[in-house]
Amino acid sequence: MAALTLYAHALDENCYRVRLMLSFLGLAYDTVAIDMVPGEEEKGLAMRALNPLGSLPVLKDGDQVFSGAQAILVHLARRNDPAGTWLPLEPAAFAAVMQWTFFSATALSSAIEARRLALFSQERDFYALRREARHALRIMDDHMVLRHMKGFEWFETDGPTIADLSLLPSFALSRDYGIDHDEFPALRRWLRRFRLLPGFHTMPGIPDYH
């Protein structure tokens, strides 16, 4: 049994964030598939014992249990990437990467929620969320227009970091909640480069080109 156990659902984009990080870092792990839809197993007693919040993903690393995709990314990067490639050590770069990593949990939460409603709910009341999600994607596109002009392909520093990793799924999956990629040329470019990283893999909703 690997030291790492991930409790996850295949269609959940926050679980995908963690699976990507594990893959980029080349870490072996066990997966426990949780019946999130329709079973809500993550809110059951057994899962609440691990994570009282009843959310996914949950990562068990030895005796420690972590929840929340961004916290897990930070933990995995710090613990397994001593050079600080994915989460820089230098203070200013660290803060800049964390700023975008938080963005994926705050401004992009509307994107994540809009997708959840579109895929798993009968309610069709997600237009406000989608508007907010589009606004967040525009901020990202504006940022990447300027980054590209300065000769960079990534959100911060000169290589991919957990900022890119935490932001990417919401854009890659945006068609699930009805936002096309037409209006985001700089993000399209970024997505194409991200797909080429060794260890990248897709999830349902993100096409595999064969």
Binding site: D142, V145, R175, E183, P185
Partner: protein
């Protein structure tokens, strides 16, 4: 209208890298803009004849584009050449996608859409330009032009000046300040959606990064709720 009017702008050339595709909408018509591996740009109707999947979701291989859904693959003339579920089938000539004339000039990809007469005119070229960005805004063309007419431009040394807006070709305007000359090709997506493809003309002193920042502010202005003037 002159022959050039047939050409509508659909993307900055730089935004469509070789071997990639993207969607673009012109007055409600969904298009796929793609560039083959050899660098030639194509503009087609964005619909796979099989089950109607958008071709812009698909992927380019060499000079073919394949549909994401079941992998039907089309050659540069829009003719279906390969159906993975029936690999030995000689694909009927009737399975093809509507293609449009595509051309590149002035750093832009242009398309001549259905109904436009073949006049032999090339797409408008407005000299040597550097691409800045495509800016998408939720407003009408008329509103965009009204705003551009009274927009401040970076004027060098921290100054701002009101730019001079001039129509130079169908769908193309220049906006000129002291130190800056922009070309803006406008794609009308729908009644309340436009794409502004912004380029800087050679010899302008502002950096393209400054113009890109300016463009973000422009989008805020374009989308600001219109306040009716108070009538005394």
């Amino acid at each position: 209208m002159s022959g050039e009017a047939d050409w509508v702008p659909v993307a900055l050339s730089a935004s469509i890298e070789p071997g990639t595709s993207a969607g673009a909408v012109v007055e409600g018509l969904e298009l796929v803009v793609w560039r083959d591996d050899a660098g030639k740009a194509h503009v087609w109707e964005d619909r796979c004849p099989h089950r109607g999947m958008r071709m812009s979701f698909g992927f380019v291989r060499g000079d073919h584009i394949a549909c994401l859904y079941h992998g039907w693959s089309y050659d540069a003339a829009g003719q279906c050449r390969h159906i993975p579920a029936h690999p030995d089938l000689d694909v009927p000539k009737t399975i093809r996608i509507t293609t449009y004339d595509a051309g590149e000039a002035g750093g832009m990809i242009w398309a001549r859409l259905a109904g436009a007469a073949e006049t032999g005119h090339p797409p408008p070229d407005f000299g040597n330009t550097l691409p800045v960005r495509s800016l998408y805004a939720d407003c009408s063309l008329a509103h965009a032009l009204a705003v551009l007419k009274q927009t401040y431009l970076p004027g060098g040394k921290g100054k701002t000046v009101v730019g001079q807006l001039q129509a130079v070709a169908p769908h193309v305007w220049t906006l000129e300040g002291d130190a800056l000359r922009l070309s803006i090709a406008i794609q009308v997506i729908g009644p309340q959606n436009v794409g502004l493809h912004i380029l800087v003309n050679e010899g302008s002193k502002e950096t393209i990064a400054d113009v890109a920042q300016w463009a973000v502010a422009l989008r805020l202005t374009l989308e600001a709720p219109v306040v009716l003037a108070e009538v005394m």
